[in-house]
Symmetry: D2
Subunit: 358 residues, 4 copies
């Protein structure tokens, strides 16, 4: 048990969606955080455990619908799980109230305003915040996170893609115009809502691509790929296709790239070794041994992301694979990892042993 003076108070705005519920699950077992406010417009006045009965006896906190400044004033950390466009407006007030903020929308993920506004078809009401916001991928931006007041939690597809690509982009080992990302998400990625498209009878025994041109995460991935390669936003473009598969949680990225000239003697073994070296100090990035390939089953319910890659000598293509839980490392648990960094706590606190099991 943590010493009481180490305890931090966290509030979640928009706590009853699936990302909210995963934040609640993660923080409920965290040794250093306690809940202050769980807000919900729809379920205000109801105990959290009525909305998610698995939390009965664990998180019976009553949902509140209170002013954002009242959420902020007695919280060390506020996490916003709100739609894009909404976050852009309210985060500024939370920060003014003196709290730290982790935002789950796309509103603070971009450095290039025009790219954001084109991708989200919105005018950003607080564009000045973009330069201060830290992109919440601890494996890449750990130092900046330590002092950040505003963290933009990365998108699920971007996290999965960037962790797989980072070692190769940083070392200029791949042709930057060759990146093709074919990714698949579980149904929880669509959020908690009454929508026929995500009804059991419409998604079970189904599998399909969607948003095949222009999915928003494309530009988010592109900008971060550019930064990883030491370039400017937009210099690298990626081909990206998401798919929807009939499981609740999990995400797999299968990435196809060409080795650059700098990548001599490319082989599956070398790809594996590059991953091992790059992520050797990272708890949550697990480089699989040999030619073992990732499976979403092995990461479901956790903050782990499993990666590996192979080389196809017949076509000269490198295949990189990464698997994560779209709600875990792809959203809520990564936010907790970032929160640990932001508050100087052990980065694995509350996260290391969470696995789903069979």
């Amino acid at each position: 048990m943590a010493n009481e003076e180490c305890i931090k108070y966290v509030s979640i705005i928009g706590s009853t969606g699936y990302v909210g519920a995963e934040l609640v699950r993660g923080f409920a077992g965290h040794p250093f955080f306690r809940f202050r406010h769980l807000t919900s417009k729809t379920f205000a006045g109801q105990p959290y455990s009525e909305i998610y009965p698995e939390f009965r006896g664990i998180v019976d906190t009553v949902c509140e619908d209170i002013a954002y400044e009242d959420v902020a004033k007695d919280s060390d950390l506020v996490i916003t799980a709100l739609p894009h466009g909404v976050s852009a407006k309210i985060v500024v007030d939370l920060l003014k109230a003196g709290t730290k903020v982790i935002d789950h929308s796309g509103d603070f993920r971009y450095k290039d305003l025009a790219t954001y506004e084109k991708s989200y078809k919105l005018t950003h009401p607080n564009p000045d915040l973009l330069k201060d916001a830290v992109y919440g991928l601890p494996e890449i931006y750990r130092d900046k996170l330590k002092t950040a007041n505003l963290v933009a939690n990365p998108g699920c597809y971007p996290t999965c893609s960037l962790i797989a690509l980072a070692p190769f982009l940083k070392a200029h080992l791949i042709e930057e115009d060759s990146i093709i990302i074919d990714a698949t998400s579980g149904v929880s990625g669509a959020g908690r809502k009454a929508d026929l498209a995500y009804a059991f009878c419409e998604t079970d025994e189904a599998f399909k691509p969607y948003g095949a041109v222009g999915h928003r995460h494309t530009t988010e991935i592109s900008e971060q790929c550019s930064f990883l390669a030491g370039k400017n936003s937009g210099d690298i473009k990626v081909t990206f296709t998401p798919h929807l598969a009939p499981f609740k949680r999990g995400m797999l990225a299968s990435i196809y790239v060409k080795p650059s000239k700098a990548f001599t003697d490319v082989s599956s073994e070398k790809i594996n070794a590059i991953y091992e070296e790059f992520y050797k100090d990272e708890t949550f990035v697990r480089v699989l041994p040999g030619k073992t390939l990732p499976d979403v089953k092995a990461v479901a319910g956790s903050n782990y992301i499993d990666v590996n890659g192979v080389y196809d000598p017949d076509t000269g293509i490198i295949k990189l694979f990464s698997a994560q839980d779209n709600l875990g490392k792809g959203a809520a648990l990564q936010a907790i990892q970032a929160a640990n960094v932001m508050f100087g706590l052990p980065e694995t606190a509350g996260l290391k042993n969470i696995v789903r099991g069979i």
Copy 2:
């Protein structure tokens, strides 16, 4: 974190089945237990995380195939997850070596030798142990567990049925010859094995009864129902039908009974109130409010069991419902709950916050 001198060492014999894996998941996050030996004949020499890749970086313990006495000699607790018939032979040697034992088979669950031998079609090699073994249902046998050296972990269907029936049997509120239990299990109940019957294409989009007459858990439930009612083994007979449903984990019992004459003014409200009173001090038995009915989704991955009941005035039938995770409260996590009691630890240690989430 626990004081190092409080730490107990646990070993699991037959650690690579699904019950074994759930024990590993549970103990991996437990503040007071450390693994000593994880044994496996099939996977000896392999790290546990190669068999279950979700444990990579968490439980990389190498599986051993060593003599039972060597498992016992440096363990405070040995948990056997072995087939019936095998446990009956080896548990005696583990006990002689001075360790405490929790056994997952049916070999020590019965007080009446003849019922065991008829149900399992075996001759028990160590029948003297039956009287010493404690039936590991903490809600009923907590005091005996405190000093037990041998605990027989209850079957999954019996746990689900007995928790639902106990308040009514103890208070003689139901007709004892009227008990009909219709129960459904997830596929993990069949264990981890290459068997066409449990292949994805055979079980997905399928639902069926099995073992409709003579399923072994029938006599286990019957004997414990008899004890709950203050009678002798075999005095109460129950009708029991298990079903197999296409989900991994979870178990639901729908139980039909007639109120006895002692149950005056029977109503749904009264049934709920009886549950509330009987389980008011129990963390892991959650009585659902009003007419809310249990769902296996809400207990998956946890040690909780949710119960409630209603009365049908048109037919005079009481319906009792209970939902648990067949690997959780129905097997491995209940064993950890029992272990906590056996070693004088807080009964909820390592268990309270484990929930599956969405």
Copy 3:
């Protein structure tokens, strides 16, 4: 191919729900029926294959939103797949227009007006039609169907329950106050709608009872059980509990009854023999051999219903089991079976070889 003069024209009102889609699938391969109108308020003007893309190139009929009398006037048969309350109002006009009608709601399933009105909490606008309507269970009411103008297609749970119980009720072999029906449905039973309760993430890996007291199908089953036993509506009461399971299609009933004194020498073999004799001329009721028990997988996508039963000598309880597709024999395909009878066609036309396969 059928002689053109044998061809009948069928229209479906409310054709775009799941029952509608199964009617479309069934009639699309029928040798003697052609579609006249497929109506839909929501999708009027769209080809059916845009709503259900599996029908592209097969049923591209454009959905219409036209007056009911216009639907009726050039149709030999109109099938209404509308909510209860709505059918009660419009069926009378369809009949006046000279067409035959099969209705899928509860509005014409009862002979006892008061039971209907209490069960559905409605006042029936056309109660006179109740006595003319034929309950569309061909195995029981075949003769009446031959001349029926209005057929009330039975509910899914009632079909499953009544086929299992009929041989025993007709021969007075069971105690009539002992009937307990524990039944489970796939998610398609809830219909096609945007409803969070039936979202993939809410129903996958879930299993629960619902409507545990007072589900409408209880009184429908009760009335038909009474008639089967030669009694008046309401004389027999049944205990009924539905459950929701994570598969798309299929329904299983597990039924518990006590043998009456007339049932001498009760045994599993005798139960099987009674089924065999009772259903020996029925194509769509398959009595499983020996102690083989039904599985919803074996009937999915078809008009078959599989039945069998066993006797538990320890408790004196008979267990009867039946499995059907809730959209098949439980709804749309049974309506086609009834339509075949109504129009003097071979009863198996278009239905015999429809099976889902793996």
Copy 4:
């Protein structure tokens, strides 16, 4: 019903696997075929409907274990659903007995012997047959199928890939060294066998790539791509990665290619128009309108394959998508389509209206 003299007799060797079962389902409803022999070593002497209970009352044919020549001598068509290596040995004897043969293994799919032998790590015992065997893709080899005695039924991944690529390869509209195929199969693709890897608890809620380098279908696709482009076997190499997803039936290919210089003014609309033109006379290839993308749900249980493509102007990549049922168009139903062509029957006989429904 077909005139009795048009009837052909078909036998299936290895009839009890999943491909066999789908052949049985397809032929059971076929107007022009009757079963002669269903062979099985494991299940000889058992009615087919005991192995697959959905066929009770439909296909109760008793499985036989008889000499291949006895299968052939009274069959018009023998379909072999045997492992590769086995077919290579026995097909020659079937042909000698005067029957036509459709083989489901890889043994007769290649024109280039060396490629086959390297891919399958086997020495072919009857290499002379390779030149006579017709690759059973009716949309490409229809004319040859009309007179073929030996048809090699294409692999599931090759069918899905080639139908998507054919119009572009034939017209030289894509860069031939740019083809990347990312494909996903349902679990039935692994066949019917007791194998832990395909157990429900191992595959449900799982998703992963497999065989990421050197999957056998890679060379089969490469050879046929070469032929489509008017080149020699092996001239075109493709990058291919299969994935396993938690549904029973269905396959999706997401294909990434670069337009060649010959493809001017490339756009999504043009891609769609090219598909429309190329497949305008094909019943079973459905070109989806606009930017509608394929979903395996829409083709499950059928012989249809749905295709469409889009162009990403930011990266200059064309994305092609195709969805089929891996057991349908990807295996058994395509074999029936080929059989129709081989025997001069209407190509859609028995196939047009088979759809799975919801």
